[in-house]
């Protein structure tokens, strides 16, 4: 096993699956000779040629819409949207078309495709308002879609392979801050991490912190600090935000009785609201404190200047403070 980064794990999943199945194509802006703005498709053009690694026009609706057509005709397209911030032009194709094709045709047609996009920001990413957004809530609301947000290189590879083999459209969002910041031993051979299953990132019996994406690492760091005081926080990494792993959410909440849900995305009507609502409904009798949430404040996105960005972003300090507040409840 080699130590590889998150972006290398993505690249390796794409390459392995393209080698295994010639129905798999990659398309997007700059995915060809340049290898993608983050290198996620580096070398694929050279290896598989321009028929399978397609530099598209600058047109997101087309990237998704043409991918849908490919899926309808029996291919397995992996569309890349250069930044998640630029997915809204493709929203109609995603939520009105891809998500509804199976249902509207009463199962006659299906739409197996993956939409990959880098998401998220933070004080050291400098993407600012339009290169930092976490828009997963917009997709997590929509039946017919699956939405996956891996937090580790191992999950990135295993979930991407599952996504490509999934018979339905999967949104696959990759946090930019993770691309090169952590390395991990990742099996070279293929393996599948199932969509819809969360993972206990850190076990604990006193509090639950339910989260996903890059925030998992911040939550674990915060939990480690509480552990020094003998407070054990269980960190649940959702991995998939649609469909949610309801069972595991309920299990950890019932076990600890105190839940903090956190994510980088805007808080209001976010994925965290859904998790909190599930806990509030299903764990009423086991709760020892209010279900708390921590997430992006009421501003449109993460600002450029560090002094502003840090107001938006979470980080271990804010999570720690909130966990201590909950612990003291």
């Amino acid at each position: 096993m080699a130590q590889i980064t998150y972006v290398e794990a993505i690249r390796s999943a794409l390459e392995q699956e393209m080698r295994r199945d010639d129905r798999v194509l990659v398309m997007g802006e700059d995915v060809g000779p340049k290898g993608g703005v983050f290198g996620a498709t580096a070398g694929l053009f050279q290896q598989f040629g321009e028929d399978r690694v397609i530099d598209t026009p600058l047109a997101e609706a087309a990237i998704v819409g043409v991918s849908i057509g490919c899926a309808l005709a029996g291919l397995l397209p992996v569309a890349e949207i250069q930044f998640l911030d630029f997915i809204p032009p493709a929203m109609d194709q995603i939520i009105n078309e891809a998500a509804k094709i199976r249902y509207r045709s009463n199962g006659d047609w299906g739409c197996p495709m993956v939409i990959r996009a880098p998401c998220g920001g933070g004080v050291h990413v400098h993407g600012a308002l339009y290169h930092s957004q976490s828009l997963e809530a917009l997709f997590a609301h929509v039946p017919g879609l699956k939405v996956v947000i891996p937090s580790t290189p191992t999950d990135a590879k295993g979930l991407l392979l599952s996504a490509i083999r999934d018979p339905d459209p999967v949104c696959f969002f990759e946090h930019k801050a993770l691309y090169r910041s952590l390395k991990e031993e990742v099996p070279e051979e293929e393996y599948l991490v199932p969509i819809g299953q969360s993972r206990v990132a850190r076990a604990g019996a006193d509090l639950s912190c339910i989260t996903y994406g890059a925030t998992v690492h911040e939550a674990v760091a915060a939990a480690d600090r509480l552990a020094r005081d003998g407070i054990e926080v269980e960190v649940l990494d959702l991995r998939t935000v649609r469909p949610l792993d309801r069972e595991s959410i309920v299990a950890t909440a019932r076990k600890t009785g105190k839940v903090l849900v956190c994510h980088e995305a805007n808080l209001a009507v976010g994925v965290g609201a859904e998790v909190a609502a599930i806990v509030a409904e299903e764990c009423f009798q086991q709760l020892d404190g209010p279900v708390m949430r921590l997430g992006g404040p009421e501003v449109p996105a993460i600002p450029f200047a560090e002094s502003l960005a840090e107001v938006y972003c979470l980080g271990p300090d804010k999570i720690e403070a909130k966990l201590r507040q909950l612990a003291a409840y």
């Binding site: 194509l25 028929d51 598209t56 026009p57 047109a59 609706a61 087309a62 998704v64 819409g65 043409v66 991918s67 849908i68 057509g69 490919c70 899926a71 309808l72 005709a73 029996g74 291919l75 397209p77 032009p89 109609d92 194709q93 009105n96 078309e97 509804k100 094709i101 199976r102 249902y103 509207r104 045709s105 009463n106 199962g107 006659d108 047609w109 299906g110 039946p143 017919g144 699956k146 018979p167 339905d168």
Partner: protein
Amino acid sequence: MAISESAPAAAAGLSQDQLRSMYRDMVLGRLLDERILVLNRQGRAPFAISGQGHEAAQVGVGYALRRDYDWLVPYYRDLTLVLVMGTEPRDHLMASLGRAADPNSGARQMPGHYGSRAHSIVTTGSPVATQILHAVGIAHSFKYRGEDKVVVTSVGEGGTSEGDWHEGLNWAAIHKLPVIFLVENNAFAISVPQSRQMAVAHVADRGPAYGMPAQTVDGGDCLAVYEAAKVAVERARSGGGPTLLEAVCVRLQSHSSDDDQRRYRSPDDLAEMRRHDPVERFRAELEGAGVLAEGDADSIRQECQRVIEVAQEEADAAPPPSSSTALQHVYQEG
């Protein structure tokens, strides 16, 4: 193109049988369309959308395709075209009456949203012009696999204002994909006249913007459309890339059963339009050329009516979908 009296069958390389069959499909489409409007007026079909006035264009294009080989990504006015591609009146009556046996959607969608994997008719939704991009992806797949299939996608002239239309034509032209963009131009997007939709006289004026061959053809002239479509299909099949084909049609009925076009079109305009009924025109043409003998048109009409009667009886007797199926097929099951 018109059939010369001396050699009608030879025109366009069509046999007399084929010409009669084309006429028969036009009549079938028209009568079925009328029947659906009746069901709506009777309060039995909550919604209906009519393709009357577009039949010649649709038959012309449909006959240029290889059935059960080439693909179609239609829009809601294409009743006649999806009949040509192999669907049955029964299918559409099931849809109109909201029956479980509606093969398009199992009565999940409003009628007029065609789709049939069996006949390579791609499932369609309501948002205008999204289907353009699907057709491009389908054409991409044909090219990728080295198949010589062709895909036709259709849209109204109103739909050409959408961004998806632009993105689709541009992409298809770059990659020289085997796709034909059929625009059925009936001069209205619901109530909005062409002059408020674009500042050009013909949608086909937009072909050169993409480096794409484009042609405007009289959509009331079945054989002219057939000819133009054949050229486009041949081009696509042989690797010559996409074509923009504009068929100028009339919208004989209101936009849909929820609309009344007398509220925004003048009586003169409506009367003038009615003089361009393509079904009548084709009948006259075929009779003039001797392809239809006296009485042929009548018996074709009767045969079609009988097909529709039988279909309606079936649809009348068919059950609505069971409530227990409402939550199925959101994701692949099993």
